[in-house]
């Protein structure tokens, strides 16, 4: 269908395109890219855009190219128009290395967890996880029963040198969660101990009609005893 632009390379007026993506690439790269654009007057590397309304497009990937075109003051931008779906947007964003990937920790594999920790500990420009033992931390996180985690806070209770503060914040930028609800009968005391704080366990006990007083270990025992 020749009338649809999807999948096509098209030349669009730059004013019709907006970008919600940011780029934190260093000024060195941006300046040089802008200088070269001012000479070529054409971005041979296309923007990836989706149509959000009539004559209105949004950048889905190659945010750096967008920033360069904007600063170079070009009136037209060469774009590939893609269809408006989350999968396409995510795939393009990742291929363009526009930013950190977002990984679902609830379902992540060991390999994925290791890659994240390795990057943040050794290759990220700020090394936010500097000092952790990547192998140990990977094992502990992977082996923890994390499918019920609603936040990343339980990581701080795994004794892998990741505490609240900058390290946890760095992980929050990469990991997200899709927790499963707790089952009716609870059998895993270690999971309960790591996953929940005392306050959270008290709330769960109340919900199940149990006494909510006592230390953490007592509460856990009580929760396991009931059917």
């Amino acid at each position: 269908m020749g009338l649809s632009d999807i999948g096509n390379l098209v030349c669009l007026p730059f004013e019709e395109i907006e970008s919600a993506l940011e780029t934190d690439v260093h000024e060195l790269f941006l300046q040089e890219a802008v200088n070269s654009l001012r000479v070529s007057q054409r971005n041979w590397l296309p923007l990836i855009v989706k149509e959000i309304d009539v004559d209105q497009y949004e950048v889905v990937a190659n945010a750096f190219v967008y920033a360069a075109i904007a600063r170079a003051g070009l009136e037209k931008a060469w774009c590939i128009v893609v269809n408006d779906s989350d999968e396409v947007a995510e795939a393009s964003y990742l291929l363009a290395r526009d930013g950190l990937p977002r990984i679902n920790l609830s379902t992540a594999s060991r390999k994925q967890i290791e890659a994240v920790l390795d990057y943040l500990a050794k290759h990220h420009p700020e090394n936010p996880l500097k000092g952790i033992q990547v192998g140990t931390a990977t094992r502990k996180i992977d082996e923890a029963s994390k499918k019920h985690w609603k936040t990343l806070d339980p990581i701080t209770r795994l004794k892998c040198r990741i505490g609240r503060g900058a390290k946890l914040e760095a992980l929050k930028k990469v990991f997200y969660l899709t927790p499963e609800p707790l089952p009716e009968s609870l059998t895993d005391s270690k999971m309960l101990e790591v996953t929940f704080t005392l306050g959270e366990l008290q709330a769960i006990a109340k919900e199940r009609g149990l006494k909510s007083s006592g230390k953490k270990s007592e509460l856990i025992k009580r929760l396991l005893e009931t059917e």
Binding site: M1, G2, L3, N8, L9, V10, C11, V54, W78
Partner: protein, 428 residues
């Protein structure tokens, strides 16, 4: 009381008289017409009474008194009538409105509205051509509907853009284009003809024009204004000292070898509305008719040309099956593609005028006529299966009572064919 609250306050199955009494006057008022600028039950003289006719007063000429020169007709239906496009109620109401347009007093009318307070649609009447300019809109945000209608009503375009198209070549598109242009010029209209087939340049050839002129590419890429790409075709009548001329936009010469018209590159640069945008100022105030001679295919130039049109005129031949089938296919497959995109902008998109038989001999055998009607019958049946009623396009005079198989047609005349060879419009 706001118009929206009036709508919300109407009973669920409000009858036509209730809608007419409570909704219509307020709606007409919102459209910018005062109480003495509207006449209810307006007699169109010859085709019955339309629910409302309106026109702005001019000095002492108050429309409610003189009832002369109506500008806009409004046909109201009850909420119990379904005015969603395609529904039998909608089709009946639209035919009713078109009927009113043919009344003796309707010559000055330029717009028509169909509404039942749940839906509303605006139609343009340009001469005898009637076509929708908005989709059938829901009145859930009536202020937006009013705003859109007013935008059209307050600035009617002077011209009608007609794409002359059939996927089948050799049916006489170019001949039709230049002769329509010439004939309308003789009737005092200002006409622009556009040769939108840079690869063939039939229009240029037909009029034997020199190769140098033609700035279509620069016009489409907005390097020059459309006005600067126009040339004039002038014809001097041999025995009378009289000239007639109409305007042309032609493509550049020597184009087939050039990179410029490489289709893949064109798709990258020419948006769907490239031609539409460029023609807009010309259509608004410069020309009564703009004819676009469209290439016989469905590639980029054809698509852009049809996209730019208000209506599509399709010539066919009585003895060429494909030309008839293609006309049907254009209505069921190609026009809807274009309409879908134009409707994203609250526009409607091009609609087809009835198909006409071009160069019909004065006598064709019964056998041949039967073959043709059978073939058309098949095209119509196929259209039915796909949800389209193609009958009005082939048999515009067909009604349930009088099943007329009369088609629009232009008779074969040797004069027209030989004029082709002489490089001039036969109409001149």
């Amino acid at each position: 009381m706001s118009l929206q609250s009036i709508i919300d306050g109407l009973p669920i199955n409000a009858s036509e008289s209730v809608v007419e009494q409570r909704f219509s006057p307020a709606f007409i008022n919102a459209l910018g017409f005062g109480p003495d600028e509207m006449v209810p039950s307006f007699d169109t003289k010859g085709r019955g009474q339309v629910d409302h006719a309106v026109r702005k007063n001019k000095g002492n000429d108050k429309f409610i008194e003189t009832q002369l020169d109506p500008y806009l007709y409004i046909e109201t239906k009850g909420k119990n009538k379904n005015l969603i496009e395609g529904h039998p109620h909608y089709i009946a109401a639209l035919n009713q409105l078109k009927g009113y347009f043919e009344g003796e007093k309707s010559k000055s009318v330029q717009w028509g509205i169909l509404t039942n307070s749940v839906h509303a649609q605006l139609f343009r009447k340009h001469g005898k051509a009637v076509y929708p300019v908005t989709p059938c809109l829901e009145c859930t945000d009536i202020d937006k509907v009013v705003q859109l209608f007013r935008k059209h009503i307050e600035a009617p375009a002077r011209g009608l853009t007609v794409a002359i198209y059939n996927n089948k070549g050799g049916v006489g598109k170019t001949t039709t284009t230049i002769n329509l242009a010439a004939a309308l010029t003789l009737l005092g209209k200002r006409v622009l003809a556009i040769d939108f087939d840079p690869n063939q340049q039939d229009l240029r050839d037909a009029l034997d024009l020199p190769p140098s002129e033609g700035r279509m590419w620069d016009m489409l890429t907005e390097k020059i204004a459309a006005r600067d790409s126009i040339t004039s075709y002038e014809y001097e009548f041999p025995r009378v000292s009289r000239k007639a001329s109409f305007d042309l936009i032609l493509a550049e010469q020597g184009v087939t070898s050039e990179d410029k018209y490489d289709e893949i590159k064109l798709t990258q640069i020419l948006r769907n509305d490239a031609l539409l945008k460029v023609l807009q100022p010309l259509k608004q105030s410069e020309y009564d008719y703009i004819f676009i001679d469209v290439p016989p295919n469905w590639r980029i130039f054809s698509q852009r040309a049809v996209y730019a049109a208000d209506v599509v005129l399709m010539p066919a031949r009585h003895d060429n099956l494909h030309s008839l089938q293609n006309a049907g296919m254009a209505i069921t497959e190609l026009l809807p593609q274009v309409q879908a995109i134009r409707q994203k902008r609250n526009d409607y998109g091009p609609t087809a005028l009835p198909v006409f038989l071009n160069g019909l001999p004065s006598k064709i055998s019964k056998h041949q006529a039967n073959l043709m009607h059978q073939a058309i019958g098949k095209v119509i049946a196929k259209g039915d299966v796909e949800g389209f009623d193609l009958k009005p396009y082939f048999y515009p005079k067909w009604t349930a009572v009088v099943r007329s198989l009369e088609m629009r047609r232009i008779r074969y005349m040797a004069h027209i064919a030989s004029s082709d060879f002489l490089h001039r419009p036969a109409a001149f």
